[in-house]
């Protein structure tokens, strides 16, 4: 079973390097068969906070952005992107960083440059330049809580552990179960993940019928009519929905699930998967085009 350390962090603090954590899990009986590190190589790229933006004296379409790097002195860069604002967290690449050239698509080392007469001390990066996607219309805006100065690698990267769970440990077939193991093995506490969401819209009372065929096997049940979002509903499905929205939304992008390129039905499937992955619970049945009978 593959476990994302980033997602695991929602349940427990990871206080050891991945290799050491893997060794402890293996020694405890759940063997780590492999460790994969995702994300590009973002040496010399940090999370920066924009403190000031000025017009470039010699170019209408360019601006001078000053960024705070946390410990070091502020840097000023020449930037052509239209979407930057003071206060935003953005990726700042130092001279010498290896990135993807936004125009050629090739890997290139960032050199010191004078752009229209002003020295640029580095570069604010788009997703394309970081190798995340082909998005090059603007700078990648990171979430507000991204810590200023953190190496981008540490913030955006993920480490995946591939666990060989033995048949006598079905509790480890879920994130919460693995988090429990990790908490015990590292002396940390398991915590409840954020389960906040807003309910909106009229009550669906009387519109959906729920029947529990076997209360012993299925102690919880949720019903949700999916017509509009934000959704009216409650409980486990909505939790899953909120988690899905948070995890799969692109950093800095405002996007409602209605607009999600995956579409309604696919989003429901993904939400089910999230619940299984997180809590180890099953499962839902698709009744028709826009209705789901969801049993959790």
């Amino acid at each position: 079973m593959k476990v994302s350390l980033k997602w695991l962090r929602e349940y427990v603090d990871i206080t050891l390097p991945a290799d050491e954590l893997a060794a402890r899990l293996t020694a405890s009986g759940t063997e780590v068969a492999g460790i994969t590190r995702t994300g590009g190589s973002w040496d010399s790229v940090q999370v920066a906070r924009i403190t000031r933006i000025e017009r470039h004296p010699n170019a209408d379409r360019l601006s001078l952005a000053t960024v705070d790097l946390g410990g070091d002195r502020d840097r000023t860069v020449v930037c052509g992107a239209p979407n930057i604002q003071v206060g935003q967290k953005v990726p700042f690449a130092h001279v010498g960083a290896t990135l993807i050239d936004g125009h050629t698509g090739e890997r290139a080392t960032l050199t010191a440059a004078r752009i229209r007469g002003v020295v640029s001390e580095g570069m604010l990066c788009s997703e394309k330049e970081l190798g995340i996607s082909d998005e090059h219309q603007g700078i990648l805006i990171l979430p507000e809580e991204a810590p200023t100065g953190t190496p981008l690698e540490d913030y955006l990267r993920d480490t995946i552990l591939d666990l060989d769970v033995t048949p006598n440990r079905p509790d480890c077939y879920s994130l919460v179960g693995v988090a429990r193991e990790v908490a015990v093995l590292t002396g940390q506490s398991l915590r409840e993940p954020e389960r906040s969401y807003q309910e909106a819209g009229p009550s669906i009372e009387g519109q959906v019928f729920v029947e529990v065929a076997d209360p012993d096997l299925c102690p919880l049940r949720d019903a949700m009519r999916w017509e509009e979002l934000p959704a009216a509903g409650e409980g486990a499905f909505a939790n899953g929905l909120a988690r899905f929205a948070r995890r799969l939304a692109r950093p800095g992008r405002q996007q409602t699930l209605l607009d999600h390129p995956l579409g309604h039905r696919r989003v429901c499937v993904e939400v089910r998967h999230q619940t299984v992955i997180d809590d180890g619970r099953h499962d839902a049945v698709d009744l028709g085009v826009n209705e789901f009978d969801l049993r959790l």
Binding site: T26, A27, S28, G29, T166, P167, N168, R169
Partner: protein, 245 residues
């Protein structure tokens, strides 16, 4: 001129291992390679619908339901326990090496047919413990690999043992860094296994173990590819002295 024959490296290694275990009073037992489902799985507390069955990919025989190419030599352990129940013996310790079969894709470290060094010890409750298991492996590895080897147990799961362990050996190649290598699975007999043999699990207790035989030879002599053992290449035989070191 007729060339004299040579023993296969597996035969040479097996004789050496049997000698080590023999001096610990272990006998040698053999059993059929074409086994029945009872001795290979069900009697060993691995029922048909249990996920533990998926831990070993099995060769079944067309037209012979209930028959299987044994996936481990522990099937022989079951046969010997059944025998013990019939003869009324109160203790037994055996190694039961032999060829086993698993439906695996072959590569440098995996074969579809290979040898296992399997074994067990059982006696009146309290006389054969997990500590004895550790001691047995400790002794065996120090004699087979050298006096600097160490043994370590890690928790694991097998249907026929509870508790179950993975057995690692600490091995150092001269000039290189030492490392822990996984060599065998083992554990204390699950009460269901003892009961299925016809013995009373309240009165008897013991341990069982099993691991790849070629793997031990590969570790000791630095052989890189398990497929060499069954390739039929006669030059492989000439690399080994007939007498144990």
């Amino acid at each position: 001129m007729v060339q004299p024959g040579r023993l296969h490296p597996i035969t040479i290694a097996l004789r050496e291992m049997a000698d080590i275990f023999g001096r610990m009073d272990f006998g040698i037992a053999y059993g059929p390679e074409l086994e029945d489902d009872w001795h290979n799985f069900t009697a060993l507390n691995v029922p048909e619908d249990h996920p533990a069955r998926d831990m070993q990919d099995t060769f079944w025989i067309k037209g012979q339901p209930g028959k299987v190419l044994r996936t481990h030599a522990t099937s022989v352990t079951m046969r010997k326990l059944e025998e013990m129940a019939k003869t009324g013996a109160t203790s037994m310790r055996m190694i039961n090496p032999g060829k086993v079969f698993r439906n695996e894709a072959t590569d440098m470290t995996h074969e579809a047919q290979f040898y296992q060094l399997d074994g067990f010890a059982i006696g009146p409750t309290g006389t054969v413990t997990l500590a004895n298991l550790k001691g047995t492996f400790d002794r065996f590895y120090r004699e087979y690999f050298g006096p600097d080897t160490k043994v370590r147990f890690r928790p694991s799961f097998f249907g026929f043992t509870e508790p179950s362990v993975e057995v690692d050996v600490w091995f150092e190649v001269p000039g290189k860094k030492g490392q822990w290598l996984e060599t065998a699975g083992a554990g204390m007999f699950h009460p269901n296994v003892i009961r299925n043999a016809g013995l009373d699990p309240e009165k008897f207790q013991g341990f069982a173990f099993g691991g790849g035989l070629e793997r031990l030879i590969m570790i000791k002599y630095g052989i890189p590819d398990v497929r060499l053992f069954h390739s039929g290449d006669i030059r492989f035989n000439y690399a080994f002295d007939e007498k144990p070191a």
